[in-house]
């Protein structure tokens, strides 16, 4: 089925006049087809490939050109460089919202989009197709003699009472370098004051700061970390070494990040993009649990505790330079405690 996969290096592509940095690229479907769908995405090829393959199974004349880039590079490619991508897929909800808000997304309405739940669509431009809750991941070894914290307050208590266990073994996102980490932190802070108390407590324990979920979980598995806070539960669930740790969706509230798609105004084939977009939505809804990311924790979580990040101009607030400067300053003073 997979006719051609191209995994080309970063250097090769940056010489091809693309100023934005790409991480990976793959092309699916027949050579020389004039129906080319160009996707730019933050998701790894392996993550998104099943969706593309099942689409191509029904549409064998279509060629899909899939480019992987970081969320800020996706933003840059579409907004600043006006690259002719047909679909932009990103987990950075704030940047996707900003793209749409700045008039860089085409509106799309179909029977399918009419039926979407309110949280999954904004302005007929931004469409959510995964739900990825933020969770604690605890090392089973480290918590062998400790009660499992079910919510933030219990986590604070556990950390406070056992500094000898957790000193240097607490991990979380470095919100200065991770867009997802920043998004989770700002939504966390907006939802409850316990976030700042938790950050203060973590700050006393010499926390380790990470760029990504995968390295945090690696360190939990290796035993370097006892607990990591605000990691993508769905990602952790996919790990094969998952018996070394336990994923806990906090019972007070779980921030849920939505992975979203939009059709950039620079698209050269918006009809095809809309067709593909509808195809992806049809796989995901009405239950809202993407086949790409079957999540048990999401299925079992109570609807009330799920705190989906709302698409909309509210997200632009944390992109404001004053706001992010203030927020990061406050976060630094809590977590670094210099």
């Amino acid at each position: 089925m997979r006719n051609l996969v191209l995994s080309l290096g970063l250097i090769c592509f940056s010489t091809l006049a693309n100023a934005f940095e790409i991480e990976d690229r793959a092309v699916f479907g027949p050579d020389g087809s004039d129906q080319v769908l160009r996707i730019i995405s933050t998701a790894d090829i392996s993550f998104f490939e099943p969706m593309i393959q099942s689409y191509l199974a029904d549409n064998d004349v279509v060629r899909v050109d899939y480019t992987v880039a970081s969320s800020s590079e996706v933003m840059r490619a579409v907004l600043n460089e006006q690259q002719p991508f047909d679909l932009a897929i990103s987990s950075a909800m704030d940047l996707q919202t900003k793209l749409a808000n700045d008039g860089m997304a085409l509106p799309h309405a179909s029977d399918l989009t009419q039926g979407l739940p309110n949280w999954a669509v904004w302005n007929e431009m931004v469409f959510a197709f995964t739900q990825e809750p933020a969770a604690f991941v605890i090392s089973n070894a480290a918590f062998a003699d400790l009660p499992v914290p079910e919510n933030r307050q219990e986590l604070i208590n556990t950390l406070r009472q056992n500094p000898e266990i957790f000193e240097g073994r607490v991990g979380t996102y470095d919100i200065r370098s991770s867009g997802s980490g920043y998004l989770f932190a700002t939504q966390d802070a907006r939802a409850s004051d316990t976030y700042w108390r938790l950050t203060e407590v973590m700050g006393t324990l010499d926390p380790q700061l990470y760029c990504c979920t995968s390295s945090m979980i690696d360190d939990v598995v290796s035993g370097d970390l006892a607990i990591v806070y605000n990691v993508l539960a769905s990602y952790a669930e996919q790990r094969e070494d998952s018996d070394a740790f336990t994923i806990i969706l906090p019972s007070d509230f779980s921030i849920v990040m939505l992975r979203t798609m939009l059709i950039p105004t620079t698209s050269e084939n918006p009809e095809l993009a809309a067709e593909f977009l509808d195809f992806v939505l049809a796989q995901t809804f009405p239950d809202g649990n993407s086949p790409l990311l079957r999540s048990e924790v999401l299925d079992t979580a109570s609807e009330e505790s799920l705190h989906r990040i709302a698409l909309g101009p509210g997200l632009l607030v944390y992109l404001d330079q004053f706001k992010s400067r203030n927020f990061i300053a406050e976060w630094e003073s809590s977590i670094l405690q210099e």
Binding site: N123, P313, G314, V317, F322
Partner: protein, 458 residues
């Protein structure tokens, strides 16, 4: 009768005017509602934008000589609470851009107002912008911090579409309602006129009484004129009747003298051709005097029907008396008058008129029968009333005559040889109608005319 010269009906004219005015009001209502609600929708949006801008301005602080704005989450999230809206903002310190969308159109002129609003196109969509500012003291210098917040018009446009629909249906509803009202008003306005027309046209031909039924004051002059016209007509009719009666009366007496003289002369004249001439003369005199008599009769009938006296009449007695009184003439012509049937019937009416009517009918029957034939009279109870039937064995009525015979001075086609004025049946008809009855002319199956006077019972 000539058809009146008409120029569109009052009802139509009224209806057109009312419909026109309600259509005008409906349209006006549509536009007024539209503009009022539009204003409200715009004000609602402006208020939200103002609240957002103020909340941003309120979050501004000066610390260590630098201004810092802690954008509240709600400042932008409140803008798409109801409908998904794109939102933009910009923060400036005097002319220095601090944050947000650098190229968002700025307020042209604050003048003295704290808050200004403007509509603009931005990034391919229409937006509404609210701008506010406040002065801050930074390093002992005053500077204005200016906050603009803008929003797309999705919600407002949705509201406007709904408002437009509502206004349209209110306008149309109003028009439909007023159209029905207009129809009713037009109909009720015209009703007094119609009822006057009906009451006038329902009248008998000789009913010239003034209109007494109450009419709307606007119609009073018309009714007064109508009444005056009828009074004048009545007066002039009466005068001509009087004139005819007077003339007939004046003619009758000399005619009687002339007749007497003619008869005396007839006795003296011996030459057969002279005798024939005198007899012709007597016949002509008879005809004239009979006409004069009937004219008098008619004048009397006309007068009496206008002032109908009502007394109880024993009809059967009246009929037998009249038959008896015509005995000399019928004997002379050798035409026996038989009373076939005589139900005792009493009615209220004018005795003299009844007598005159019956006499005229009977007289006609005798006159048009040839000698040896019989005239039959009967008075009998019939369906819902009674009938007086006089039937003879004369030539009968021809088909063409029947309709016209009741008119004055109309005589039958076959009456040339018989002395007559053409007033007999007219008199009978007027009397019968004055008493609410009808007169029917028909022919017997065995030949001969049959006149039926039918009356409803009182």
């Amino acid at each position: 009768m000539t058809a009146p010269n008409t120029k569109r009906s009052i009802r139509q004219r009224l209806l057109v005017m009312l419909l026109f005015s309600s259509a005008l009001t409906g349209i006006l209502l549509y536009f007024v509602m539209q503009s009022v609600f539009q204003q409200i929708a715009q004000e609602t949006q402006d208020n939200i934008l103002a609240a957002s801008a103020i909340s941003i301005l309120d979050s501004a602080r000066v610390s260590r000589g630098e201004i810092s704005v802690d954008l509240p989450y709600s400042a932008l999230s409140m803008l798409d609470r109801v409908t998904d809206e794109r939102a933009f903002y910009s923060i400036r310190l005097d002319d220095e851009f601090l944050s947000g969308y650098d190229n968002l159109p700025r307020s042209i002129d604050f003048a003295d107002a704290d808050m200004t609003f403007q509509s603009a196109a931005y990034l391919g969509q229409d937006i509404r912008i609210a701008a506010t500012r406040r002065s801050f003291s930074i390093d002992n210098k005053q500077a204005f911090l200016e906050v603009s917040v803008a929003q797309t018009l999705t919600g407002v446009n949705l509201a406007l579409a709904r408002i437009s629909r509502i206004s349209l249906s209110v306008g149309l509803g109003f028009f439909a309602l007023s159209a029905v009202m207009a129809l009713l008003i037009a109909r009720s306005t015209i009703r007094p006129l119609q009822s006057l027309t009906e009451s006038v046209s329902r009248r008998g031909p000789s009913d010239l009484r003034p209109v007494a039924a109450p009419v709307p004051s606007e119609m009073a002059p018309l009714v007064v004129s109508l009444n005056n016209l009828m009074a004048r007509l009545k007066k002039s009719l009466a005068r001509s009747e009087d004139f005819i009666a007077e003339a007939a009366h004046r003619v009758r007496t000399p005619l009687a003298i002339v007749r007497t003289q003619a008869e005396i002369t007839l006795r003296r004249v011996e030459k057969e051709e002279n005798r024939r001439a005198v007899r012709e003369m007597i016949r002509a005199i008879d005809e004239s005097s009979r006409t004069a008599g009937q004219l008098l009769d008619h004048a009397m009938v006309t007068f009496r029907t206008d002032n109908l006296s009502s007394e109880v009449i024993k009809l059967h007695e009246l009929i037998s008396e009249t038959v008896e009184r015509s005995q000399p003439i019928s004997d002379l012509k050798e035409i026996p008058v038989r009373i076939l049937h005589l139900d005792p019937i009493e009615i209220t009416g004018d005795r003299i008129l009844f007598q005159s009517a019956f006499h005229n009918v009977l007289d006609n029957a005798i006159k048009y029968s040839s000698s040896g034939k019989v005239v039959d009279v009967s008075l009998e109870i019939a369906d819902g009333g009674f009938e007086i039937i006089v039937s003879d064995s004369g030539p009968g009525f021809s088909e063409t005559d029947r309709g016209t015979l009741l008119e004055r001075f109309e005589r039958g086609e076959n009456a040339d040889t018989v002395v007559g004025s053409g007033l007999g049946l007219t008199i009978a008809d007027e009397v019968v109608r004055a008493h609410g009855g009808t007169i029917t002319l028909s022919n017997n199956s065995g030949g001969g005319a049959c006149v039926t006077l039918s009356f409803p019972s009182d």
